[in-house]
Every structure is written in C-alpha cells, then in structure tokens.
C-alpha cells in the first residue's frame, strides 16, 4: 500500500473508569481508504475505544491524531466537523421527525459550515435525498422515523452519518438486530461507502467482518490482542482461544 501518513493514529490511548482500565494504552493506525473491523469479546473496550476517537469520552492518557492533527482535546462536535462521523450502537434517530428531517439536520449544519447561508431549500433537499438514496430509504423519506421498521431505522442512522460527508465513518455494531436479508444489503452498502470513505467498524457477526474488512484488530481487556488481514486473524492461535472459541 502506498500510504503517505495514516488518516487516524492513536498513541498510548487509554481510559480508566475508576479502577477498570477499559482501554489500556492502545497504539493504533488506520490508513486512508481502508475498511477496518474491530472485534473482541463483550467488555473488551471496543465501544470505549471508538468513543475516545470520536470524542464522546475523554481519554485519561494518550493522544488521538486525525489527518496529522492532534485532536485529543477537541470537543466531539468539532471532530464531527473535521470529518469523523459516529453512528450509534443503540439506534438514536429522532423518532418524531420524518426520515428526511432526520437527515436534513445533518445536512443543515454542513450547509451552515459551508457558509451557504441561504440554506437554499433546494440544496437541503438534494443533499438529504442523496443520503437517503444511498442507503435505499428514498421512498420512505416522508415517513415518521419512529414508525419505520428497526432495520430501516438502522439504515437511517447510517444515512445521517453519510449526510455529514465524513472522511472517517465509525459504525458501532451496525448489523445488530437485523435479519439475514437485511444484513446482506447492509454489507453491500458498507462496501459501497468504503469506496469513498475510511470505515471503522465494530462488529460481532464474523461473516460480515470477513466479507468487509481489509484488516482486523482484535481487542481483549482494553488491549490489542492481534492485528492483520482476515486470513491471518482466522489462523491466529491466540485469537482463536480468546474469541473465536478455539
């Protein structure tokens, strides 16, 4: 790979909750354009780790570097503007609003940033529908989000992330609770997203991980246990014992 400098790096990144070291001195590097999966048993610190990256949780030690810039002290909303989007593990759409209005909230802020002060209804509609189109929800644009099926709410969550036009999209267990056919569509969707953005994926479903990830990081007890291409991870003894049920 002809990588210049990685899009995202962490150096000795850690977070303790009381005596528990949820994330323990993690050094991690993610090249631009890669689709990377983080796996590991429950409580391994995966969600805490990505929360440190997107700024929802403050680190107790270490640094986060995004696109060459130290963002360790940057508040979450500024990291989003810098290009890091996070989709919630627990579906977190605005249930009272329509699917379109949910996405419009993401687009609206972007347009304000771009100083398109007019917030032309046209641009808002276009960008919003574009994001819904990508996840295949265009026909449900004017349904109230709370009335959508669970699978569609998960897709809406991703659409909100996409509407931010992120450089790094973090997906926290996106396929949880989806049916097999929905998962199939989801894999196709993430593959398509991966062509334009860097994707960091926390996932339990190994079929999804193997289908999507170019590289995999295995976490256990807040540390990185192993890292490598899917085939290497599958063959790794330690991983098999810790996680794959060896």
């Amino acid at each position: 790979m002809a990588t210049v400098s990685p899009l995202l790096e962490t150096h000795g990144l850690g977070r303790s909750f009381g005596g528990l070291r949820a994330v323990d001195g993690v050094d991690f590097s993610l090249p631009e354009g890669e689709t990377h999966a983080i796996i590991g048993p429950n409580g391994a610190g995966k969600t805490t780790f990505v929360s440190l990256i997107c700024g929802r949780v403050a680190p107790t030690e270490g640094r986060v570097v995004f696109d060459g810039q130290d963002i360790s002290k940057m508040p979450a909303h500024k990291r989003v503007r810098a290009g890091i989007a996070y989709t919630f593990q627990i579906t977190s759409v605005f249930a009272n609003l329509t699917a379109f209005d949910n996405v419009a909230l993401a687009v609206q802020r972007q347009l304000i940033d771009d100083h398109e002060r007019g917030l032309s209804a046209h641009a808002l509609t276009e960008h919003g529908l574009d994001a819904l189109e990508k996840v295949g929800l265009a026909e449900h644009a004017h349904k109230v989000a709370g009335n959508l099926s669970y699978g569609h709410q998960r897709l809406l969550e991703v659409a909100m992330g996409l509407a931010l036009r992120p450089r790094l999209l973090i997906l926290d267990e996106p396929t949880q609770g989806l049916s097999d056919s929905e998962i199939e569509n989801f894999v196709a969707l993430v593959r398509q997203i991966g062509e334009e953005a860097t994707v960091l994926l926390i996932e339990h479903n190994m079929d999804v991980v193997m289908a999507l990830a170019e590289r995999i990081t295995v976490m256990e007890q807040g540390r990185i246990l192993a890292q490598g291409a899917p085939a290497e991870i599958r063959a790794n003894q330690a991983v098999q014992q810790a996680y794959l049920g060896g």
Binding site: C54, R56, P75, A76, H77, K78, V80, R81, A85, Y86, F88, S92, V93, F94, A95, N96, L97, D101, L105, A106, Q108, R109, Q110, I112, D113, L119, M160, L164
Partner: protein, 321 residues
C-alpha cells in the same frame, strides 16, 4: 379555491390573532381592556420562557430574575436617574441579556434537576439583592413611577403610557414583535436545531452541533424577551417591586406555558389569559378561589394533557407551529 400550505395557514392565523387583539382595544369594556393589556405584557414573559422550556427543553425555575432584571433596569433608571422611557427600556433589555449570559454560562454546565436548582438559587440571590438594596428599590413596598415620567417619545409626539388605550396598543405592539420573532425563530433552522437538542442532545452533538452554544443562545434570547416583558411592565403599569423577583414569578410562566401548551407559539398567550380569568372569576365568587383554580387545573390536565394549544395541535390541527 387552492389549498393553503401549512405555512401560509399558520402565518394567516397569527396575523388574524393580532388583528383580533387590535379590535378588542375598541370593543372591550374598560376593566377588561386593563386585564388584557396586563396579559399581553405577561404573555411576552411566557413566550420568552417557552423558548427555553418548551422548545429547548430547559426547565428553569429562575426566570423571575430575567423579568425582574428588565423591570428594575427600566424602573430604577427612570426613578433615580430620571431617564426617559426609551433608554430606560433599553437598559432593562441589556440587564436581562447580560444576566442571562452569565447565569446561562454557569447553569448550563448542569442538566435536569441540577439545572432547576441552580437557576432557582440564582433567582433567589437576585430576589434577596432587591431586598438588600432597599435604599434604592424600597423592597417589597416597591417604587411607583410618577405618571409624568411614563411618556414615550414616538415619531415626534409624546405618548402617555398611563392612558388605557395607548397602554393597550403599546402592549400589543410588543406582543406582536415578540410573537413574530418567535414564529420566525422556530421555523428557522436554528429553531429546528433547538427542538432536536431537546429530543436528543447526544445525537445532535454527534451531528457536529455545538450543543452548549445553541443552548446558551436560547437562554440569552429567552432572557431578553422576559426582560422586555419586565421593562414594559414597569413603564406601562408604573410599579416596580421585589414581589416580581420572587419565586412565584418563576413558577407562573411555567404554569402559563404548561396550560397553554409548551413549544407552541400561541400557547403562552392562551395560558396566561386563561389563568388570569380563572383566578379573576373565581375570586369574585369565593374567597377560597385557589381551590377552584386547582380544580380547573386538574380539569385542564385531564382533557388537555399537552396544554390547550398543544392538545388542539395534536388532535385536530397538526400544522399549528
């Protein structure tokens, strides 16, 4: 006939309400015109409160301090410095804005119950200060602004604010301005962001919104509207006293907004008007009027759980803003 869009319907409704209120100036008997003038001024207070509470979801128990900041900002400068009404009114607004900025900056570090308590404490400090500086404020007894100070220079002439018709029309003008401002705000992208913050703050943060700054702006705008109401109260009714800074005046706007409908543009007016007339009517029949008021409130909660306008919107008129 072409079908009206929700947006034209709602704007037409608001213009209609303002014209109806204008007509009432010429139709209402003297006593009721006085009540309506008072209600219009206090409805501005309620609308300001509604922006923070209804739209942004910030349950403050200290908004009396913003009302009183406007009241004293205008009243003290007129009484002691003999300022004319316009600069005094401006001072009231500035006092409210500055206070809201400082209190908001500190109180918004908390949420939920802690936010209620912190705002309550700040308001108590403000109330106690009005008593402490009794040399200037005359505390509970208050100050009566002489009639000759309450004249408003307007397009060359002088308006006597103690004249019932002038007072009503000035109150209605302020009400209309604030109503238009609120209507504009809640339909603008900023208003939609506030509602979304109320619904799911964490989600908005992860969409890149500066939640703290948005909430602070909401508190400051809310504080300015409440101060405008207080300053107008001082110059229109000529009385400035500590009672307006007390805890009751933090609870009343909450009550008015809940009865009328939180996060509705017309709810604060309806709630304020309704409560005024319930108390007025009940107390003309019995000394136990608070019992009647309590019963009526229970009825309202039973049949209009989201407030009068809020429930009308939910059941019949979904386009109401």
């Amino acid at each position: 006939m072409t079908r009206l869009t929700p947006s034209t319907k709602s704007i037409a409704l608001h213009i209609g309400v303002v014209f109806a209120l204008l007509a009432l100036n010429f139709l209402l008997p003297e006593y009721h015109r006085g009540v309506f003038a008072r209600v219009l001024v206090l409805a501005v207070f309620a609308m300001g409160y509604n922006l923070a509470f209804g739209y942004t979801g910030l349950l403050s128990l200290g908004h009396a301090m913003f009302f009183a900041a406007g009241l004293y900002g205008a009243g003290l400068t007129i009484y002691h410095l003999e300022w004319s009404v316009w600069p005094a009114f401006g001072t009231g607004l500035a006092a409210g804005a500055a206070l809201a900025l400082v209190v908001g900056f500190l109180a918004l570090r908390t949420t939920g119950v802690a936010f209620m308590i912190v705002t309550l404490m700040f308001a108590q400090v403000f109330y106690l200060m009005t008593l402490y500086f009794t040399t200037y404020t005359r505390g509970e007894e208050g100050l009566v602004l002489p009639q000759e100070t309450r004249v408003l220079g307007f397009s060359g002439g002088m308006l006597d604010l103690s004249d019932p018709s002038t007072r009503y029309l000035v109150a209605l003008s302020l009400f209309t301005l604030v109503l238009a401002a609120i209507l504009f705000l809640v339909r603008a992208p900023y208003g939609r962001s506030l509602i979304a913050i109320r619904e799911n703050e964490e989600r908005m943060r992860m969409l890149g919104y500066d939640v703290f700054a948005n909430k602070l702006a909401s508190v400051v705008i809310s504080g300015i509207f409440c101060a405008a109401s207080g300053a107008a109260y001082a110059v229109l009714f000529g009385y400035v006293g500590s009672g307006f800074a007390a805890i009751q005046y933090s609870i009343l706007p909450l009550l008015w907004v809940l009865v009328g409908g939180a996060a509705t543009t017309l709810g604060p007016l309806i709630g304020t008007l309704f409560m005024f007339y319930v108390i007025d009517t009940a107390s003309s029949y019995t000394t136990a009027h608070l019992m009647v008021v309590g019963l009526v409130l229970i009825g309202v909660i039973l049949f209009f759980p989201k407030g009068i306008i809020g429930t009308v919107r939910e059941r019949w008129l979904p386009w109401l803003p």
